[in-house]
């Protein structure tokens, strides 16, 4: 289940980095935003759980589009460090806005699933985790199809390969950028909205999520959707093994050690024969 969530986060980030060349530090905040939207919709406004999930993702897409249009559009020709610093500024502002509105106290979200687990042979899994995994899988496959089999996806891939040529071919780079950032943000919000009800929502939840997403992106190779998916599952797997066999305190350190090792030995990522979207 965690693998699916990690994959969602990683795909969103890898798309944004690959296509826009932006190191998106607000990614974790979009993730937290998704969880908080669930909290607000389900717990405060008492919207139906599944409807709330859809709404949270839509709002995430909208927030992503707003960030892209207000902050990043003007910086398209700026160098990568400047955009990175701007994103850090935006990240600080967003995180503290969340803290201001919803305070630092962790919020739990009710989920409509039965408490009794699903038992298949010797394995028992909680229903809500099955649901999370299924939705994550659908979203991953959906993104894959979007990129490889639609006109928008084709334009995105073209932009990734060569920005200038793509622009010359009549692709609206600005629109592609907005679409990419909105899509990536939507995926992050979806990850948060799915995981929020399983755990709890708190303002700094995005930090670790964002760092892990970076780890996944590096594992999979930049801009590589399939790589990010596999990377997500690998990270979840390594974390569980590390927590089980070494020490649960070092669970979160596993991912970082993994990144450092991958970067030292295979700087282009585990699966990168060539860089490419799809």
């Amino acid at each position: 289940m965690l693998g699916g969530i990690y994959a969602l986060l990683g795909i969103g980030l890898t798309l944004i980095f690959g296509i826009m060349r932006v190191v998106n530090f607000t990614h974790g905040e979009l993730y937290a935003f998704g969880a908080y939207m669930m909290y607000m919709l389900v717990m405060l406004l008492e919207v139906n759980f599944f409807l709330a999930l859809v709404l949270a993702v839509v709002l995430g897409v909208a927030l992503g589009a707003i960030i892209e249009i207000t902050l990043l559009r003007k910086l398209r020709s700026a160098n990568i460090d400047t955009t990175m610093l701007v994103m850090i500024g935006a990240w600080i502002a967003l995180q503290n806005t969340e803290q201001l509105i919803w305070t630092g106290v962790a919020k739990s979200i009710d989920s409509p699933f039965p408490a009794a687990p699903l038992v298949i042979g010797p394995v028992s899994v909680a229903w809500n985790r099955v649901f999370v995994f299924a939705v994550a899988l659908v979203l991953i496959v959906g993104t894959y199809v979007l990129i490889n089999h639609t006109r928008l996806g084709k334009a995105m891939r073209a932009t990734f390969q060569d920005r200038e040529t793509a622009a010359l071919m009549g692709i609206q780079i600005g629109t592609i950028n907005t679409a990419t950032f909105a899509l990536g943000s939507g995926l992050a919000a979806a990850a948060g909205a799915l995981l929020g009800p399983v755990f709890v929502a708190y303002p700094t939840m995005g930090d670790l999520a964002a760092l892990k997403a970076f780890a996944i992106v590096i594992l999979g190779g930049l801009g590589n959707v399939v790589g990010a998916t596999i990377g997500g599952f690998i990270l979840a797997f390594v974390e569980e093994l590390g927590a089980g066999y070494i020490s649960s305190g070092y669970r979160d350190a596993m991912g970082f050690l993994l990144i450092i090792m991958v970067l030292v030995f295979r700087p282009t990522g585990l699966f990168a024969q060539k860089e490419g979207v799809g």
């Binding site: 500024g89 970076f214 350190a253 970082f256 970067l263």
Partner: protein, 348 residues
């Protein structure tokens, strides 16, 4: 003229605790000074070599922990029955050791991390800081984990005229931090204006070209990281013996971000930049506190300010101010060489 101004400025800085009766202000200045030292060390990497290290707080934290552990003493089980330990050592010995250890860590990280550049390097540096933080949280036997290291002794030094003296009070610590800050400033200035400094700037501007003209890029990057890490370590050690408690929170990503904001706002790649930025962001929270503004709002304000600075003064405050000054001189017809200074050159 310039020398006299510098001397006057130094005299003013050193005299502050003599006429400032409010000890809280002195305390704020000490903390600000420590952060300025850290920001100066970050500036060396970010401003001069152009490598954005977002794991800088790791060196600060390592400095703090090493110095604290040295002065408190420790014993750790390596295997179930082999114990490695150390008796408490005097603080004047602990601080230099902390600086050296932080420098060694810088060397190690530099060796590993500079195989990659740009976004990859940023992520390696973040990962490194997180790993170190998690070790500090989890290795309870050594670091006491979240329970923190308490009762760290303050510095005791033999001073001419005073004999053995312990730095308990705030003014003394202020002078101590100021001295270290001045030394750090001189070190940075020397380094930047030297051959190594020119090499750093060359590789920031154009790395392939720098390599082509024979600059050993990796060597200079590692050298810069070592100096930078050692300086951050000294800031950490000063922090440990002033606050006298160290917990894993010193490794929080937020401190790195604070340093980055200081450097970027002040002006990266300038000597005065981190000082100006450090003063602004060290004192601003206190000023905002007077108006009883919530900390969240304050941070939102920081974030927005950082974005605005990057939009409108992408070079930072110091270069912008210098440009403005030159233009004004030009307009009044006083300056002869009033053309705007080329960016990226180490100025005063």
């Amino acid at each position: 003229m310039k020398k006299a101004l510098t001397a006057l400025w130094m005299l003013f800085l050193f005299s502050i605790p003599l006429w400032m009766e409010n000890l809280y202000v002195v305390h704020v200045l000490v903390i600000t000074g420590i952060f300025i030292i850290a920001a100066m060390s970050l500036n060396l990497l970010l401003g001069y070599t152009g490598q954005l290290s977002l794991g800088h707080v790791a060196f600060f934290g390592i400095g703090a922990y090493v110095s604290a552990l040295m002065s408190l003493g420790f014993s750790v089980h390596v295997t179930s029955d082999a114990v490695v330990g150390m008796e408490p050592k005097p603080v004047w010995l602990a601080i230099p050791v902390a600086v050296v250890v932080a420098g060694l860590c810088g060397w190690f990280i530099g060796k590993i991390a500079f195989k990659v550049r740009g976004a990859y390097f940023v992520i390696v540096s973040i990962s490194f800081a997180e790993v170190v933080r998690l070790v500090a949280v989890n290795w309870v036997e050594l670091t006491q984990g979240p329970m923190a290291l308490n009762n760290i002794p303050p510095l005791t030094l033999w001073l001419p005229g005073l004999g053995e003296h312990t730095f308990w009070k705030k003014p003394e610590n202020y002078w101590l931090v100021l001295t270290v800050a001045v030394v750090s400033y001189v070190v940075v200035r020397r380094l930047v204006l030297s051959r190594a400094g020119r090499a750093m700037i060359a590789l920031k501007e154009n790395e392939p070209l720098a390599t082509a003209v024979g600059v050993d890029v990796t060597r200079y990057l590692v050298l810069t990281t070592v100096v930078s890490a050692a300086m951050a370590g000294s800031a950490g050690a000063l922090y440990a013996h002033y606050i006298r408690i160290v917990d894993p929170d010193v490794f929080l990503f937020f401190y790195t971000v604070t340093m980055v904001i200081m450097v970027v706002t002040g002006g990266k790649g300038t000597l005065a930049g981190p000082i100006v930025g450090g003063l602004i962001f060290g004192l601003l929270p206190e000023i905002l506190r007077v108006f009883e503004i919530k900390p969240e709002l304050q941070w939102i304000f920081y974030g927005v300010l950082m974005v605005l600075v990057l939009y409108f003064l992408p070079e930072g405050i110091v270069p912008a101010a210098r440009k403005w000054w030159h233009q004004r001189e030009h307009r009044e017809g006083r300056g002869r060489s009033a053309a705007a200074t080329p960016t990226g050159r180490p100025g005063r």
